[in-house]
């Protein structure tokens, strides 16, 4: 089995609106190894969020190959993609996407409830562990609206972690946070990486991109620069 969790070859994504074709991604190649921390950056409209959506199986490519954990996933049906998302992928969004009617614990438990056969006791245990990991265990009975932005994002991280996914996908995770809370979330991601988590983050902020060990730069739907942070920084 390959050490790469994600292998993408010649990936394209074309959006059709009326008679207009928009090429969001044009022949992207990308690999992400187990335990890597990758940042994707680029100007607005360069295709980074589209790429992350395809990587996260929220969207499907127009063409190309996509292998996740050694399995071809580019052309899976909706149901199979749901199942793989549930088991392999943890999401962290810019706007947290917490469900307001669920408590902190219930939000974190949510992906586990979609996993068949997991006993309630095990779910509770995993929720507890995830919340402890992000220092939110004391807030588990609160509702998202009762938390600060930073706490909400930590809760979202806990939700992403709870299912022990192969990879964490973070889409502008600090976009809605002030600098202090933004730094705290980035520190948390770094700690998770240090503990062995594979992370792929989209950000347009070079300060946060600098936290990753490898950075991919996209422009007009293509990867235009890729390398270790130290190497890229040196080139700059």
């Amino acid at each position: 089995m390959s050490q790469n969790i994600i292998e993408i070859e010649q990936l394209t994504k074309v959006f059709y609106t009326d008679e207009i074709e928009t090429h969001a991604l044009s022949g992207v190649h990308l690999t992400i190894g187990r335990g890597e921390y990758v940042a994707m950056s680029g100007p607005s409209g360069c295709g980074k969020s589209t790429l992350l959506s395809i990587v996260g199986l929220l969207d499907t490519p127009t063409s190309g190959r996509y292998t996740l954990n050694g399995k071809e996933v580019a052309n899976l049906n909706f149901s199979d993609r749901s199942r793989i998302r549930n088991q392999e992928i943890g999401f962290i969004f810019q706007s947290f996407n917490l469900i307001g009617d669920l408590t902190v614990a219930e939000n974190v438990e949510l992906p586990l409830t979609y996993r068949s056969g997991m006993p309630a006791s095990e779910r509770k245990k995993k929720v507890q562990e995830a919340l402890e990991r992000v220092n939110m265990a004391h807030r588990m009975r609160h509702y998202p609206a009762q938390l600060s932005g930073g706490q909400q994002q930590r809760e979202a991280v806990a939700r992403a972690l709870a299912g022990s996914p192969s990879i964490l996908l973070a889409d502008e995770p600090t976009g809605n946070l002030d600098s202090k809370n933004g730094e705290a979330v980035m520190k948390l991601l770094q700690e998770l990486h240090a503990e062995g988590s594979t992370i792929c983050m989209v950000t347009h902020d070079p300060r946060f991109a600098a936290h990753a060990e490898r950075q991919i730069h996209l422009f007009d739907g293509k990867v235009v620069a890729e390398g270790e942070m130290t190497q890229l920084l040196a080139e700059v």
Binding site: S79, S82, R85, F91, N97, A120
Partner: protein, 841 residues
């Protein structure tokens, strides 16, 4: 299971966190489901429920067609539903396919118990009545064949369970005791079983008496309910099929016997032509029909109104489902990100659909429970309207919810819940996850916006349909109320007094009634007082065949005329116009020359003009040997007699005081003030005349008219209520859709205003949003309303189905509703601050 519990918990939490939304939805569902349950409650009792007897499916009843000549007394329905006593006995004793045949008739008798007299409905029944029905007594014993033998020889009675409970306080020792029926002692045999009212559907007699006692139970009808006369038809026959025999087989088997009995009956006719004989013998048939629900002539009257109401509440239920679906879709528009997130976290489609269905089911259950609570309230209004005023303690209909109604409500609730839950579930079948999760706020798809517009258009169309129906029923009610009856109802009070209850013999009844009228005439404020044996607008029809001097009636000519017996001053009391001749006077008594007053229809048919009728001779009965003994002394205008839809039929009024045993009367008093003001004085005067005389069914003629219009009022009232409810629901749906659409367009409106759009242009922008939908909805509804209204023809009066004025009014009301519902969103849109709107993005 755990996940399901979680879904339920989440759904309940959502309800609690959005109480306004939850209450709107639950109230909408409660009204829709409650209205359906209520109408079904009555529909079931009137149309579907079988008699509470042993194996009701084995019960059949007889109906015949063919020529006939004689006297017929009915309590509703065609003459073909009634039989003579001799015919009954022949059918009962000579058939091979029935386990038993019973006979029954309705009556009203005076019952005295412990010196307290009252008038009560009774059922005259053959001795085998309870045996054929397979009933067991609640107390004592029931009537048997041995209790119904020779004429006047069986003074026995069986009490109905309800009457025993109320009037006899459920006394356990009542069997064997004596009560007075029309002043005659009768021994109580026992009490009929609980829940059983009568073999006649919708009838609730207090006592069951043997047919052999009919002369005592119904003395004034004795000549027309003769137990020996083949030509006196008045009994309803119900039979129980032998095991394994079908109604069709029984009908075929009975055919030869029926022809044989008809031939035998014909020998009793004094003079018959060959043509009549042929029609009598060869153009006749005996039908054997299902009677599991009991013969109920009123069922025909109620059938169509109830079907119409069931149809209307069905439409209302559909509107509820669409309305709630619209509201749920509006809420779903704000949940796009939540649901997308659930998908992103790995939820399968089935799981999301299940969650949305569970959320709908929780709302549905709450709505159904509220509907079941509401149902008896609506049903009680209906029961009150369709039950005659003053007889509500005797109504066979109940507003309470039973298992059948609960079952119906459950099925309806499931159907409605599925209908409204599917729409939001469908919206999330193919989500656009990446797009939804990136947006700063969730918005609805174009598809769901289109659905909402279609839903609102659908509701507008159904509202126009319901309003159209309600409008036609309102106009029918108005036309019936406003029409000329031929007499005046204002300031007229009516009541009954039964002298036999006070111990007077049948021979003294007439004198007591006349004394009562004298007393009433002496009351200040009473202008006239009189009485009739055949009250107006009370559903009565008492006819008899007549011979008219100089007129040779062909065999097929209907020579049967209404025959009220009235006291002097009757026409003056009711202000019925005297067109020629005179009223009856105190001189028109027994022994004096026999006289009659005929109505205009009669006079025109035989004499051309009222004047020509005066002095002409007529006679009750037919045949060549009939003696023309009655002189026409007056002609009066036609009246609506039986009911308000009645077409005037020929009527021969005869003097009450010229009749032998004329029986009880409906008494009328014309007052110079509000008739209610003399009620107590009339009671007091009658009490002073004889304290044992009981006054009952005292009401004004206007109230009597209300009773006669009970079905029409129920239909108009409920149809209008349901239509207004539909209007309200549509307005709520329309408001919700417009408010949401306007909120979605806030930025666009801001841009337009920044570019110089006037507020009026913004208002028009919002109104235009729904104008096209409303126009399409109305355009679809109008032809449908026209087509459907044709089905209602039998319920209309004085207005055509698809009446343009009514439909135009409906469209007008709907247009006002659309404008009102759009006013708030339009006003809100017009007050958008362009700077804030543009900054908010």
């Amino acid at each position: 299971m755990n996940a399901l519990i979680q879904d339920v918990r989440y759904a309940v939490r959502q309800l609690l966190r959005g109480p306004g939304f939850a209450i709107t939805v639950i109230v909408t569902l409660a009204l829709g489901i409650g209205a359906n349950s209520a109408i079904f409650t009555i529909f079931d009792q009137v149309m579907l429920r079988t008699l509470p007897v042993q194996k009701p499916k084995e019960l059949v009843r007889f109906e015949w067609t063919g020529a006939y000549s004689g006297s017929a007394s009915s309590f509703g329905g065609d003459t073909g539903n009634y039989f003579s006593w001799p015919m009954y006995k022949d059918l009962r004793d000579r058939n091979t396919v029935f386990a038993g045949i019973l006979a029954a008739d309705r009556s009203s008798v005076g019952i005295s118990w412990h010196d307290q007299a009252e008038n009560k409905d009774a059922e005259l029944v053959s001795g085998n009545y309870f045996d054929v029905l397979g009933l067991r007594p609640a107390l004592g014993r029931l009537m048997t064949v041995s209790d119904d033998t020779a004429k006047d020889a069986n003074p026995v009675a069986v009490l109905s369970y309800d009457y025993w409970k109320t009037r006899f306080t459920a006394a356990p020792d009542v069997a064997g005791k004596t009560l007075l029926i029309n002043g005659h002692p009768f021994t109580i045999l026992g009490v009929a079983p609980e829940g059983f009212h009568s073999a006649i559907g919708g009838y609730t007699p207090g006592v069951f008496l043997p047919v052999s006692m009919s002369d005592i139970a119904m003395p004034w009808t004795a000549p027309r309910k003769d137990l020996t006369n083949h030509q006196s038809i008045w009994l309803t026959l119900v039979a129980r099929l032998k095991p394994g025999v079908t109604a069709q087989q029984a009908e075929t088997t009975m055919e030869p016997l029926w022809y044989a009995l008809r031939a035998q009956e014909l020998t009793g006719y004094r003079t018959v032509s060959e043509r009549f004989k042929d029609k009598f013998l060869n153009h006749t048939h005996l039908f054997v029909k299902d009677d599991s629900t009991g013969f109920n002539p009123e069922r025909q009257d109620l059938r169509m109104p109830l079907l119409v109401l069931m149809g209307m509440v069905g439409v209302l239920a559909a509107m509820c489902a669409v309305n709630v679906a619209t509201l749920l879709l509006l809420r779903a528009a704000g949940r796009v990100r939540e649901i997308s997130m659930r998908y992103a976290l790995g939820a399968a489609r089935s799981r999301i659909v299940r969650q949305l269905l569970v959320e709908g089911a929780v709302l549905g259950v709450c709505g159904a429970i509220a509907g079941v609570v509401l149902s008896p309230l609506i049903a009680s209004v209906l029961v009150r309207i369709i039950s005659n005023v003053g007889d509500q303690d005797q109504t066979p209909y109940t507003a309470s919810v039973d298992l059948r109604v609960l079952g119906f409500t459950l099925l309806l609730s499931v159907a409605v819940t599925l209908a409204f839950s599917v729409a939001p579930a469908l919206q999330f079948i193919r989500p656009r996850l990446a797009e939804s999760l990136r947006q700063s706020s969730g918005t609805a798809s174009k598809r769901s916006q289109l659905f909402r517009k279609i839903a609102v258009g659908f509701q507008i169309a159904l509202t126009v349909l319901l309003l159209g129906g309600a409008g036609l029923f309102l106009r029918t009610l108005s036309n019936l109320r406003g029409q000329a009856l031929g007499f005046q109802t204002a300031h007229v009070l009516s009541w009954q007094v039964d002298p036999t209850l006070a111990g007077y013999g049948d021979d003294r009844t007439a004198q007591v009634e006349m004394n009562v009228l004298d007393e009433v005439r002496a009351i200040p404020g009473v202008l006239q007082a009189s009485g009739t044996t055949d009250p107006e607008i009370a559903g009565n029809q008492n006819g008899s065949n007549f011979t008219v001097q100089g007129h040779v009636a062909p065999e097929e000519e209907d020579m049967n005329f209404e025959i009220p017996c009235i006291t002097p001053g009757y026409f003056a009391t009711l202000r019925q116009p005297l067109l020629a001749g005179r009223e009856f006077t105190a001189a028109d008594v027994k022994g004096a020359p026999r006289v009659a007053v005929v109505n205009l229809t009669f006079a025109k048919r035989f004499y051309g003009t009222p004047q020509n009728a005066l002095g002409r001779l007529i006679a009750e009965g037919g045949g060549s040997d009939v003696k023309l003994d009655t002189t026409i002394v007056g002609v009066v205008g036609d009246v609506k007699h039986q009911n308000l839809r009645d077409t005037p039929r020929g009527t021969v009024y005869r003097p009450y005081l010229q009749q032998t045993l004329p029986g009880g009367m409906e008494l009328y008093a014309l007052t110079d003030q509000s008739p209610e003001t003399v009620e107590s004085m009339i009671r007091e005067r009658i009490h002073r005349l004889d304290s044992k005389l009981v006054v009952y069914q005292m009401r004004t003629l206007d109230e009597q008219m209300d009773i006669s219009l009970a079905n029409e009022r129920a239909l108009a009232f409920l149809a209008m209520s349901f239509s207004l409810l539909a209007l309200l629901m549509t307005a709520v749906g329309l408001y919700g859709v417009l408010a949401y659409a306007t909120a979605q367009r806030t930025r666009e409106i801001g841009v337009r205003m920044a570019l110089g759009a006037q507020r009026s242009a913004v208002v028009m922008l919002v109104l235009r949003e729904m104008a096209l939908t409303a126009v399409i909805g109305v355009a679809v509804a109008l032809p449908a309303a026209f087509a459907i209204s044709r089905l209602l023809t039998s319920q209309l009066y004085g207005v055509q189905p698809g009446d343009p004025l009514t439909l135009a009014a409906c469209v007008g009301v709907s247009a006002v509703m659309v404008v009102l519902a759009a006013a708030i969103p339009a006003r809100r849109a017009a007050s958008v601050d362009p700077m804030l709107a543009l900054r908010s993005e």
